[in-house]
């Protein structure tokens, strides 16, 4: 009784002793941290604004138009959604494409992006703001890039601290690799999918740190949004098992990992199976087996931990031996079953696209369509620098910083960074997945660098002024990191402080734990670098100031580079082209839309249009005509049929097109103005893909003496095929009038081989202003008098092409 009363008095007096000085101290600290949070909020608002406005260059330079090819399909599906509603989208069978097969859109599209734009449009129209669907589609990606910057802030803040979060958000708002796929007008899956990716990672890390099932629920919901948005969700479903296994085998396993991982996997599998495009692949394809394996291993490890927790030591050892032998036997049985199942399929259970990531040579050997897409090629070294700039330097620093101190969250970031670097090296398109990783790692490094410099500049902790504000803001989160490291690394240190509490202030206890942590850090092997010594060593004040200035200069260069890249490189809508005339004005090439508009207004509604698959989506969206093949490329044989037709002489091509009910053939030709991405340059891929299915198309037939050319030394089959004929029909005279040289092709830089091209089975119906798109009609009967037709057309041409010397079309490239 007496002792407990004495204890109570002692503890009360202790509280009074320590209360007064620390109240004033703590209110000042509270005020400073509140001010710091306000500044942080304004900074984040500015970062979101930066992210949005950096992506608006194409709208300013050209107009608010949808870019490229794939976004046109997404736009068309969104139009359908706004007209017909959510339920009808699931059952939509599109008969305007892949004639005569059609396409089950409901089952083959990733609906996340469409839902997002549809919901935004519905909300706007509910409030009677009549914004057209196209505008909503154009501006969805910049909006979600602002959200992505916010989410990157939260992710890096969860891994390290608020300062790292702010830097990561700034990097993520402006990193060029993300800008390239999310400019205004680029209405593609990646625009929202990268936001969903970072959101899933943030919520996963939050769940690991807090261990709460509420965060795990939010994580599962965001994963549903991710699966709905992009095929790249398989990256998540394989990265999280790698992290889980790494935690188990590095001895970092605890119950919070179980709460984060296990519910997510099961809920995620059912959610993935609910999306029709994934369907039963969620349990049957090898991409997901890694997650199930890690699920099993996690349960085994948790079981062992529970038994260890419950049993005394001796019995535990016997139980462990028994469990291990039973477990190995069970795993052997499961392994035999899985290997048997997987060997039955020719791709070991992986889908073609995933296999081409694991084995980079797979696509070029077996699936030439995947190999032909330019964004599936490995990136050149300089594209790393263009796409992430100084993060090339900062991200490896951040990687090292994640090791000290290593938490579950920083281990996750390490694994994310390393796997993303590998996959970005396989396919340039996956630089996009690398971007958030480098932003977070770079943010951590930048925060540490600035931390070191600012500590050297300012006076000690606890002083006033703006420097103190910054330091409090950066140090404000450090006690959490410190206590984390205390609980993980230096348990004896905390017990020593608790054993002698009387008369000591809280502050000195913190100092003690800092010293203990510092002593702990000394013993670690990373001390040799002493790069992140932190509290111990301070640089001289001048070095700190100059270093901070240099660092800010580097950041200025980074933002400058990002603005330049966004304005010059990634803002081209590629459906409208621009070039500078010698007088300094801008010349616009709007040929694509001109051709699609002509098709829309001058052809029968049910007419079928054949072209190479690149232009399929644009044709259905803008010309509103049925096409034979489009960018979905799901049917290789159908594409090979069109390729074979383009590579055949006139009569065979006419037969093939008549069998397919084709009325119009569309080719893209750049030789008149110098547009290099035309069909003649893509022609070899048509031959390869066609030859992959039809053995009578052989690539060597189309190569001449000097390889692939279209001059007089070209291959015989090349000069006979309709691609050549349709591209160069009546071209020789037009080139004479435009450039002064008879039959000079501006892209290939040679004169064409055969200048008097005649067509018997096709009739030219439209050629755009700069000859970039040419439309031919498939005749019912071959024409009898070929010469008369050609001269009649040539006379008509004289009126349209401008005489040389005055208004020559400037070359684009």
């Amino acid at each position: 009784m007496l002792s407990t009363a004495a204890d109570r008095v002692a503890s009360a007096s202790r509280r009074i002793l320590v209360a007064e000085p620390s109240t004033a101290e703590s209110t000042k600290k509270l005020q400073r941290s509140a001010a710091a949070n306000v500044v942080c909020g304004f900074a984040l608002a500015g970062i979101c604004l930066l992210a949005f406005s950096l992506r608006l260059f194409s709208v300013i330079k050209y107009e608010s138009v949808i870019h490229e090819f794939d976004p046109y399909f997404n736009y068309r599906v969104t139009q359908f959604l706004t007209k017909e509603g959510f339920y009808n989208l699931w059952n939509w069978f599109d008969d305007r494409t892949w004639y005569p097969l059609g396409r089950v859109v409901g089952g083959t599209v990733y609906p996340g992006l469409i839902w997002t734009a549809g919901i935004i449009w519905n909300v706007l129209h509910f409030f009677n703001i009549p914004i057209h669907v196209q505008e909503v589609c154009v501006f969805t990606a910049p909006l979600f890039s602002a959200f992505c910057a916010l989410t990157t802030y939260f992710l890096a803040k969860e891994v390290r601290n608020q300062g790292a979060g702010l830097f990561a958000a700034l990097f993520a708002a402006s990193v060029p690799s993300y800008i390239s796929r999310s400019v205004a007008g680029s209405y593609d899956n990646e625009g929202v999918a990268i936001f969903a990716l970072v959101l899933v990672f943030f919520l996963y890390v939050k769940t690991i740190n807090t261990g709460s099932l509420a965060w795990a629920t939010a994580n599962a919901l965001s994963y549903f949004y991710m699966v709905a948005s992009w095929g790249g969700y398989s990256f998540i479903i394989n990265l999280l098992p790698i992290h889980c296994l790494a935690c188990i085998f590095l001895g970092r396993m605890n119950s919070k990992l179980y709460v984060a991982y296990a519910p997510f996997i099961i809920l995620g599998t059912i959610e993935a199976a609910s999306i029709p495009v994934v369907g039963f692949n969620a349990v049957l394809m090898s991409e997901h087996f890694g997650s199930f394996l890690a699920f099993g291993v996690l349960h085994a490890a948790m079981g062992m931990l529970y038994i260890k927790h419950i049993l005394p030591a001796k019995t535990y050892n016997a139980a462990k031996a028994l469990a291990l032998s039973a477990g190995v036997a069970f795993m052997a049985v499961v392994a035999v079953l899985v290997v048997g199942y997987v060997m039955a399929s020719p791709t070991f259970g992986w889908t073609g696209r995933s296999l081409s990531l694991l084995d980079p040579t797979y696509a070029s050997k077996y699936i030439p369509i995947i190999a032909s897409v330019s964004e599936h090629q490995p990136p050149a070294w300089n594209s790393y620098f263009t796409d992430v700039h100084i993060l090339v330097l900062l991200a490896p620093l951040g990687l090292i910083a994640c090791f000290r101190p290593m938490t579950d969250a920083s281990l996750f970031l390490i694994l994310y960074g390393v796997t993303a670097v590998y996959f970005s090296g396989v396919m340039v398109r996956l630089m996009l997945v690398l971007a958030p990783a480098t932003c977070c790692l770079g943010g951590i490094a930048a925060d540490q660098i600035l931390n070191t410099f600012c500590k050297s500049i300012g006076p000690e902790e606890g002083s006033g002024g703006w420097v103190g504000l910054i330091k409090t803001w950066m140090d404000g989160e450090e006690p959490a990191a410190q206590s984390d490291s205390v609980s993980v690394d230096s348990r004896p240190a905390s017990s020593s402080t608790s054993s002698a509490p009387s008369g000591r202030r809280q502050k000195s206890a913190k100092n003690k734990s800092k010293e203990a942590a510092a002593k702990e850090a000394e013993a670690s092997p990373f001390n040799a670098f002493n790069l992140f010594g932190g509290t111990r060593d301070k640089l001289p004040r001048d070095v700190g100031i100059i270093g901070a200035l240099f660092f800010f200069g580097m950041l200025v260069f980074y933002v400058f580079h990002c603005c330049w890249v966004s304005a010059e490189m990634y803002s081209a809508p590629s459906i409208v082209l621009q070039s500078r005339s010698p007088q300094g004005g801008v010349h616009v090439f709007d040929d694509f839309r001109e051709a699609y508009g002509w098709l829309r207004h001058n052809t029968h509604e049910e007419a079928k249009v054949a072209s190479w698959w690149d232009y399929g989506y644009q044709t259905t969206a803008m010309a509103n005509r049925t096409v034979i093949v489009d960018n979905n490329t799901w049917n290789n044989t159908h594409i090979a049929t069109v390729g074979r037709a383009m590579a055949s002489p006139e009569h065979q091509a006419w037969q093939i097109y008549r069998d397919l009910d084709v009325k119009y053939v569309l080719v893209v030709f750049g030789g008149f103005v110098g547009y290099p991405s035309d069909d003649i340059n893509k022609f070899l891929w048509m031959v390869r893909i066609g030859g992959g299915v039809f053995p009578d198309i052989k690539e060597p037939d189309y190569l001449g003496e000097r390889g692939y050319t279209i001059d007089d030394k070209a291959g015989k089959a090349m000069l006979d095929c309709i691609m050549y004929k349709m591209s160069y029909y009546r071209f020789a005279e037009a080139a004479q009038m435009a450039t002064g040289r008879y039959g000079f092709d501006r892209v290939r830089n040679t004169n064409i081989g055969v200048t008097d091209v005649s067509l018997k089975y096709f009739e030219e119906v439209y050629t755009t202003e700069h000859w970039m798109v040419r439309i031919f009609e498939v005749k019912d009967q071959p024409s009898r008098d070929v010469q008369a037709d050609t001269t009649k057309k040539a006379k008509n041409t004289l009126k349209r092409v401008s005489p040389s010397g005055k208004n020559r079309t400037p070359p684009v490239w």
Binding site: L213, S255, K256, A262, I266, L311, T315, L322
Partner: protein, 110 residues
């Protein structure tokens, strides 16, 4: 064999010391596992059509087990990882997660 008996005996002895709340949760676990096994037996005997219904039912049993294990860990007083979490908060999270789980299952069952 003797070793196995020893292990089981000492395990049973230690298990009886766990609180009654946790033992009730363990009964739920056994029930859910049993339901899942019944569904697998049905799959093996009768066939896999319709597969989505089987997946929905089986995965709902597995997920329910997982969530109950999470709840069990969170309210177990001897577990040091969840020191700051009150049992009421743990139960509320559990109900929320189960709500999402059953919503997704109901949608997928067909």
């Amino acid at each position: 064999m003797d070793a196995l008996n020893d292990i089981l005996r000492s395990f049973r002895g230690e298990y009886n010391k766990t609180p009654v709340k946790i033992q009730v949760l363990d009964c739920f676990l056994v029930y859910a596992v049993f339901t899942g096994l019944v569904q697998v037996a049905h799959l093996l005997l009768v066939g896999s059509f319709p597969f989505n219904s089987f997946l929905a039912g089986f995965l709902s049993c597995v997920a329910f087990c997982v969530l109950t294990v999470c709840l069990r860990m969170q309210i177990d007083p001897s577990n040091a990882d969840f020191k700051g979490m009150s049992p009421e908060r743990a139960f509320a999270d559990y109900v929320l997660c189960n709500g999402l789980l059953h919503l997704v299952i109901w949608n997928f069952m067909g």
